[in-house]
């Protein structure tokens, strides 16, 4: 099963309410995915030349301050950070490669959930409502957000196996469905240099898109290619630094509904998750067509 939801703001005046608008959407999909939940939020960008990492440690009392201090002295780079439950967001004035290598070498027990200029990923095992509470989702600000409530099928119920998955800069993906060719594809992508953290099929889809984008594809081209190379059932919602995309496989067994107003574009597995959005009564509501790519992108970068 699984539930997926996404909200992309067209009206920037609503950015301060992104978390508050999104929280009921995520919680509405509890029936479809009660075992874990997560979301990727975009906003609070760091400048070019800097990098933002979302880091996680199993111990809520982990000494993030010590790690930050070490980063500052060893990398000789400015570091800002804040903690949210078991997760910390680090903003470092250095490149992604240097920052990630530092974390892996200095604190191998720390998991990197995302890297980019805009993205932050927060996910845990448990009921969506509890996870939204844990991270104080309703107070969060940003330009777009995608989320997932999981009912595990292809791999174990763990924090690592919960969505969203990010395998490239500012890119993340949530998936409802199951892929049948993920093992072979994972091996092929590993040879191309894509790194995977789990045995999860959805992570392979994220890795595939990262690889295509590295090859120079636009988001649209990468998604077009995925229709050819991914075998299985899927409804995807994808977030990038500036954009938001939705794609269903050609058979389109997995549900999806979309709504658009002058203020936002919203996507959900079921209409139930859209009912709390402002102006939904007069929104344009439609079911995305099979094998059809829907993309919204900001042109500010």
């Amino acid at each position: 099963m699984c539930g997926i939801v996404g909200l992309y703001l067209k009206n920037r005046a609503l950015e301060s309410q992104l978390g508050a608008l999104f929280e009921p959407m995520l919680i509405a999909m509890t029936d479809r995915g009660p075992d874990s939940a997560g979301f990727a939020i975009y906003g609070d960008e760091v400048a070019d030349g800097s990098i933002k990492l979302t880091l996680r440690h199993a111990d809520e009392n982990y000494d993030w301050a010590a790690l930050a201090e070490k980063a500052q002295s060893e990398l000789n780079a400015g570091v800002e950070w804040f903690k949210n439950s078991k997760v910390a967001v680090f903003k470092l004035q250095t490149s992604a490669a240097i920052a990630e290598a530092f974390v892996k070498a200095t604190a191998p027990e720390v998991l990197i959930l995302s890297a980019g200029q805009s993205i932050e990923i927060l996910k845990e095992v448990g009921l969506p409502e509890n996870i939204a509470d844990t991270f104080n989702l309703k107070e969060m600000k940003g330009s777009h957000i995608i989320g997932h409530t999981r009912m595990a099928t292809e791999s174990a119920v763990t924090m690592e196996g919960s969505h969203p998955f990010s395998t490239g800069m500012d890119l993340c993906l949530v998936h409802n469905g199951s892929l049948s060719n993920h093992n072979r594809l994972r091996e092929e992508l590993k040879r191309e240099g894509i790194v995977f953290e789990t045995e999860n099929d959805s992570e392979v889809a994220a890795g595939y898109l990262t690889w295509r984008l590295q090859q120079g594809d636009s988001l649209n081209e990468a998604l077009t290619n995925s229709l050819k190379d991914l075998d299985g059932f899927f409804t995807f919602t994808i977030g990038t630094r500036d954009g938001f995309a939705v794609l269903r496989d050609p058979i389109a067994c997995k549900p999806a509904v979309m709504a658009e107003t002058d203020d936002y574009v919203a996507m959900a597995s079921e209409y139930q998750a859209l009912t709390t959005l402002p102006g939904i009564e007069n929104a344009r509501i439609w079911e995305p067509e099979p094998a059809t790519i829907y993309v919204w992108e900001r042109s500010s970068h």
Partner: protein, 227 residues
């Protein structure tokens, strides 16, 4: 008229109240407010009552319907009127996939578009869609009629038995064993009646008829090598 607001009462309360009407009918007209996309609204009805649902519904709305007349003033989720036996279900908006799946009788009218697999394995229901239908519509359709005033998606009528299909617009592709057939006088009559019952103003002579080539009814020994 009895009004039930689904933000105040549960779907289970609503359905129980509607099921009670099967034993003794005390109220013919029902109105359901604020459905908010909930699943299983007005399922399993078995009485000549009318139910107006004022907003979008979730999965299986009016499933297993018998005798009742259900109108959805909004979009319907998956499997609207699935396994309907008799009565009428009308969707004022669009319907998601598998509308009227396996339904045995009655009339399903969709005033907007229907998504994939509309009328899958239909067994006697009549379905009239004012807009388009998605891919694999009428898959394994056994009896009844599917009328599409717009276009049909890929693989229309795949593995079809005896459902009559009428399409006014374009058919993207026909499924296995589904062919275009001659529109004879009796078919014009059947289609005229279906359009009248659905309250849809279309010219029956503008439609094309599709049906089963009847080549998949029995296993053919010549096909053994295909397995």
């Amino acid at each position: 008229m009895k009004t039930i607001n689904l933000t105040e009462q549960s779907v289970r309360d609503l359905n129980q109240a509607l099921h009670d009407q099967a034993i003794e009918c005390t109220e013919r007209e029902w109105e359901v407010l604020e459905p908010k996309g909930q699943h299983n609204i007005a399922c399993g009805l078995d009485q000549n009552i009318s139910v107006d649902i004022k907003g979008p519904t979730g999965y299986y709305c009016a499933g297993m319907n018998k005798k009742a007349h259900v109108t959805i003033h909004g979009n319907a989720g998956q499997g609207v009127a699935e396994n309907m036996m008799s009565g009428t279900v009308r969707v004022k908006g669009d319907a998601s996939q598998a509308a009227g799946a396996t339904a045995h009788g009655g009339l399903l009218v969709i005033e907007g578009n229907a998504a994939a697999r509309c009328g899958i394995s239909m067994k006697g229901v009549d379905i009239v869609v004012k807009g388009n239908v998605g891919h694999m519509s009428c898959f394994m359709g056994q009896a009844g009629a599917l009328v599409v005033c717009g276009d049909a998606g890929d693989a229309l009528g795949d593995s079809l038995y005896e459902t009559h299909i009428y399409v006014k617009g374009e058919v993207k592709s026909l499924g296995a064993d589904c062919i275009q057939k001659e529109m004879r006088e009796e078919h014009i009559e059947e289609l005229t009646e279906l359009l009248n019952r659905a309250g849809v103003d279309e010219d029956p002579t503008a439609f094309k008829r599709y049906g089963s080539a009847r080549q998949l009814y029995n296993f053919k020994v010549d096909n053994t090598s295909a397995y």
